[in-house]
């Protein structure tokens, strides 16, 4: 029954995702333009810490894909706030399944939609001129999955503190964007001043972006195993923390 619960929560997220076609397209607009224009604009810029043979667009694309996964999964987790607002959360909360199950189901559902968005973004970046290693995509998928699960969990955790959607803008501007900008998605973190570079080491997305980049273009700033371990630990911790917070949340 608990598995059935996880499945149906996952399925619901997927159905809602597929029905919101305009949102799918809308949310991919910004990253596509980022990739296209930054790719064109910085085409000839030399970044000292970057090997000569790597073009900026190849460097950037894994970062932009990570961005898509980051945004989609965080929003997806936070969408619990909407469910609360529209009352549907109550329907879930009075069902005879555990809160942990509910949290896991939402987590998987949100992560799946984020993964799909990420894959669409990879496909689109082909069109813009990105040439990743095809074999590496499998590894990239693993990193994407971990990013997706972790940040859906973050979104769920945030939603337990947010009682209406007014705080949403704050979360985007003061949490999601800094996470993205610090992660080395747009430039190598070794280019950052020492202090900020240190800060970036505390950004879990840093390891996701680096791992993705390693998988897709064979370049990374850290050892990819190190990336994997860091991201995995973060991911597991967040899944537990978000489930615990969700279990404690009061719903009337």
């Amino acid at each position: 029954m608990e598995l059935q619960g996880i499945y149906i929560l996952w399925l619901r997220d997927l159905k809602r995702y597929i029905r919101a076609r305009s949102r799918i397209i809308g949310s991919l607009g910004m990253p596509i333009f980022f990739l296209a224009f930054f790719g064109m604009g910085f085409r000839r810029v030399e970044i000292p810490s970057l090997p000569q043979n790597i073009t900026y667009i190849d460097f950037l694309a894994p970062g932009i894909v990570s961005m898509v996964v980051l945004f989609t999964s965080t929003f997806s987790g936070i969408s619990i706030v909407w469910d609360r607002q529209f009352g549907f959360l109550r329907e879930i909360m009075v069902a005879p399944i555990s809160r942990t199950t509910i949290s896991l189901g939402r987590n998987l559902g949100g992560a799946t939609t984020a993964l799909i968005q990420g894959l669409i973004m990879i496909a689109l970046s082909f069109l813009i001129g990105f040439k990743p290693s095809i074999n590496g995509l499998l590894f990239a998928f693993v990193f994407m999955f971990l990013i997706a699960v972790a940040f859906t969990g973050i979104g769920i955790a945030i939603s337990t503190f947010m009682h209406d959607i007014h705080g949403f803008q704050i979360v985007i501007n003061f949490f999601v964007f800094p996470i993205f900008l610090l992660s080395g998605a747009l430039f190598p973190i070794s280019e950052l001043p020492k202090f900020v570079a240190t800060l970036a080491l505390f950004d879990p997305l840093t390891y996701g972006v680096d791992g993705m980049r390693w998988a897709m273009i064979g370049y990374s700033e850290f050892n990819p195993l190190y990336d994997l371990a860091a991201l995995l630990i973060f991911c597991v911790t967040i899944v537990f923390v978000s489930a615990a917070l969700f279990s404690k949340m009061e719903v009337e």
């Binding site: 059935q4 149906i8 619901r12 029905r19 529209f86 009352g87 109550r90 329907e91 009075v94 719903v251």
Partner: protein, 319 residues
């Protein structure tokens, strides 16, 4: 075993007693009503019974299980229709039901049969594959009632099932609830602030005001508390007239602004006498009406207030 047993149930919000030590027992197969004005504590009571709110004190058993100690067992055995809608508007009617059926662990075969059955019960079978956001308020309500019944609950909770619906839709929902009671093996507890709803639907009604149950009986017995007839007199000097109307035949007088509500035995005989008395002491009678007591009169009789402020009838009375 009684489906619901409530003992000294109390809920306090920051020192304010929203539900104040209430006691009642619901019998198997009946429709039990909680009737009271807005803010009386109906929803708070329901939320405690469905395990969403922890009681401050007292205890409650639903379907034989303690709401605090065995919340999961309670949840398995109840269906709930909340006061505010709780549907996923993006999903179709059938998907909403399928979601629910799986959450409650129904297997595939039972799920399909049962979804069909409950959709037919509320006449929404032909709308099964329509997104719920395209439904009218009444249709959404019907779907929620169907969903509440889906997993064969022993007890069904309906919190203000017809709130905000127009009179015609409301009557239809009543028909569905009555049909449901006849066809399904379920005990129903509903809350309402609509007099007629409590009267038409409920086998027994608990009248609740300011967190307390002030009367509990079947609607006929409750109305007998008031008397045989109710005469309502609107006058220019109600206080003066009250003093003069100390007749033996008048069981009780309640004043609401410039209106007097009098419980009497033979209304048609009392009216001319009362008008005569009014004229004799120079009180002007603006209007007179005679009716059989309703549950509203019971509430007035017990509290000196009306249940609803916004009711059409009362608005007319007040002008």
């Amino acid at each position: 075993m009684e489906p619901i047993v409530v003992k000294n149930l109390t809920k306090t919000f920051n020192g304010f007693k929203a539900v104040d030590s209430i006691n009642f027992t619901v019998k198997k197969g009946e429709i039990f009503g909680l009737l009271g004005p807005n803010g009386a504590g109906k929803t708070t009571t329901i939320k405690m019974l469905v395990t969403l709110l922890k009681p401050s004190s007292g205890e409650a058993k639903v379907a034989g299980y303690d709401v605090v100690k065995q919340p999961n067992m309670v949840r398995k055995n109840i269906g709930i229709v909340f006061q505010e809608p709780t549907l996923d508007l993006e999903l179709t009617a059938k998907e909403n039901l399928d979601f629910h059926a799986r959450l409650y662990g129904l297997n595939k075969k039972r799920r399909e049969e049962r979804i069909k059955e409950v959709l037919k019960l509320v006449d929404l079978y032909d709308k099964a594959n329509l997104q719920v956001k395209k439904f009218s308020g009444g249709m959404q309500r019907r779907l929620e009632i169907a969903r509440g019944l889906l997993h064969f609950p022993k007890v069904l909770f309906l919190d203000e099932p017809t709130l905000g619906l127009d009179a015609q839709t409301r009557r239809k929902i009543w028909d569905y609830i009555i049909e449901m009671k006849e066809r399904e093996d379920v005990t129903i507890i509903l809350t309402t602030h609509y007099i007629e709803e409590a009267d038409k639907l409920c086998d027994r009604v608990a009248i609740i005001d300011k967190g307390k149950i002030i009367a509990l009986d079947d609607p006929e017995n409750l109305k007998k508390m008031v008397g045989e007839d109710v005469v309502s007199l609107t006058v220019n000097d109600p206080e003066r007239l009250i003093d003069e109307l100390a007749l033996e035949e008048i069981r009780k007088i309640v004043r609401i602004e410039d209106r007097l509500e009098l419980s009497v035995v033979k209304g048609e005989i009392m009216i001319p006498r009362m008008v005569e008395i009014a004229q004799k002491v120079g009180v002007e009678v603006k209007s007179v009406s005679l009716r059989k007591p309703t549950l509203e009169d019971v509430f007035i009789h017990l509290t000196g207030r009306e249940i609803r402020e916004e009711s059409g009838k009362n608005a007319f009375w007040r002008r």
